[in-house]
């Protein structure tokens, strides 16, 4: 089995497209962070020329003012009628954190601080997902379109093993891209942005506690990776069933780009909860959701069920199919 995975990995990295994607990922993330740095510099300049206030003093009241505004905003939302339970819990936790910050004088991270940049690096998963989908869509389909499938399957190896090696290679590729993207993002955070004295807070068991930016980011990355796996499994299934990489890439990306809109449109209906593209686990963990009463475990269970169905369909079709290519 390991040898089969080795084979898939070799084929993957002998394709120019794979290297192109990897390079695009690195360049894209580095570019985005460079752009962020540039924007932060521009804003800093504007602040300096407009206000002649001393830098050290300008920052301190700033976060307090914003925290108080946030406090007012959350309180207003809580007072509004018709809140769902999950939303109410989220808001109450946010309020608790803001109150704690104001009472204890615990500063949050500035939006262009190194810590905030590291925290935001779970966003690279979007790019990793895009490329992982492309690979997942093609890994079975191109064997058919190139006619190599008959050379691959006329072997003393059961078909499910071949398919497993292909799925494992896809998942590994997704994990590698996520990891590489994260490393690039962290390196750029250190190169371009300065650390500040802020502290990350979270509510755990009713108490406000300090959390490490690293723990939080790795947790988000892990959730993002689960999302990647579900989308790649979908692309993998389409590629295996229809033997067309183009269709699989097209359909997966279509869902990837329009999924949010569709689930937003359907968010009033029960069905939205059971669509796999409704659930962005990272957003859920950050308390952002537009479907009511969806918890992280529920979303994870829905995604798990979808991934299982996609895989079962892929295996059934692939092992039964007559190879006529």
């Amino acid at each position: 089995m390991l040898k089969l995975l080795q084979n898939e990995w070799m084929k993957l990295w002998n394709k120019k497209a794979t290297w192109t994607m990897a390079i695009l990922l690195v360049v894209g993330i580095a570019g985005m962070m460079g752009l962020t740095k540039w924007i932060s510099t521009m804003e800093g300049n504007r602040a300096e020329s407009g206000d002649v206030a001393a830098e050290g003093q300008a920052d301190a009241p700033d976060w307090r003012v914003m925290a108080e505004a946030e406090h007012a905003d959350i309180s207003a939302q809580l007072a509004a009628p018709g809140l769902s339970d999950s939303r109410e819990t989220d808001l109450k936790e946010e309020l608790q954190i803001v109150e704690y910050r104001l009472a204890e004088g615990v500063e949050p991270h500035g939006s262009f601080s190194r810590q905030q940049m590291i925290k935001d690096s779970s966003g690279i998963a979007t790019l990793a997902m895009l490329f992982a989908i492309i690979v997942a869509a093609g890994i079975v389909a191109t064997e058919f379109s190139d006619g190599t499938i008959k050379m691959l399957l006329a072997r003393p190896v059961k078909r499910w093993k071949v398919l497993t090696s292909k799925f494992a290679a896809t998942a590994l590729f997704g994990a590698l891209l996520t990891l590489v993207g994260f490393v690039v993002s962290v390196v750029m955070s250190y190169l371009l942005f300065a650390a500040d004295g802020g502290t990350e807070l979270a509510v755990q068991g009713g108490e406000v506690t300090e959390v490490s930016v690293w723990t939080l980011t790795l947790y988000h990355l892990f959730l993002a990776f689960l999302n990647i796996i579900v989308y790649t499994t979908f692309a993998f299934m389409i590629g295996s069933v229809f033997r067309s990489g183009a269709l699989a890439i097209g359909l997966s990306l279509f869902i990837f780009f329009t999924g949010n809109t569709v689930s937003a449109l359907l968010s009033r209906y029960e069905i939205a909860k059971y669509l796999f593209f409704s659930h962005d686990l990272v957003a859920l963990a950050q308390g952002m959701t537009f479907i009511e009463d969806v918890t992280l475990p529920f979303a994870a269970a829905v995604l798990g069920a979808y991934a299982a169905v996609f895989l079962i369909v892929s295996y059934l079709v692939f092992s039964k199919r007559d190879i006529t290519a």
Partner: protein, 309 residues
Amino acid sequence: MANQAEPIVELKRLSKTIRGKKIIDDLNLQLYPGQVTGFLGPNGAGKTTTIRMMAGLMKPTSGEVFVAGKSVQNDLEAAMSNVGVIVENPEMYKYMTGYKNLVHFARMHRGVTKKRIMEVVRQVGLENRIHEKVGTYSLGMRQRLGLAQALLHDPKFLILDEPTNGLDPAGIREFRTYLRSLAEKAGVSIFVSSHLLSEIELMCDRIAVIQNGKLIDIREMKGDTRPHHYIEAQPADQLKAVLESKGYEPVESGAGFIIEEGTERIPELAKSVIAGGLNLYAVRPHRKTLEDEFIEMTGGGQIAETAAK
């Protein structure tokens, strides 16, 4: 040939129905070690379907294929470890070198070493180009690489579908010699489908003919050795009369006739033709080609209604 030996490959009551059409109908066939069997049939007769079922690429509707006693359908890994396959054009991974392609396929078999890979590369004469990308190969070179991947694991049974496609005449000759030596020296059983009848004729010990999904004939190539002669004289109708009076059954062929006759009675026959006042133009031994037999067997070889692919 060595038909007394145990068959290495057995097709037992193999049938395949695709969308209600019987592509292969109750096919039974045995293949023996050390023997090259040709597989002939008009287009759409079911050759490719049969070969794909033997290679584990298609599942029969009923029946089984056994290789060395193991069922391809129920014990794929044991059965296929004895089989080397080239199905139609050997499509390789074009973006990799020939060597990497071989490494790839070697990993799918047990116990194929680097040394063995290079040995096979040398056997098929690709050592100078093996580290170049397959995309740069000519069709002939791809055929050689295709043969190499089929031989990596020293199979006892080799399935070749149209193996000489794209080979030049020298390449075909070399290929033929190589296959014959594989069969004779290593005792490999070889099953070749080809539309080049002359090729099959030179390469095979035995041929199996399929038409409309049914096996219509299996014969030893050296089996039909009854001698024939071609005789041509004018006027033709008088010649025919003479031949018939001698007890032959002349078959018209071009300007003359073919009769079943060895060399012994030919001088006497020639004398009587000349004595009869006919102008004798030619008397020569006639060898029935496989093409003649093939056309005879398949009745001109129309393409079957159910075009299998």
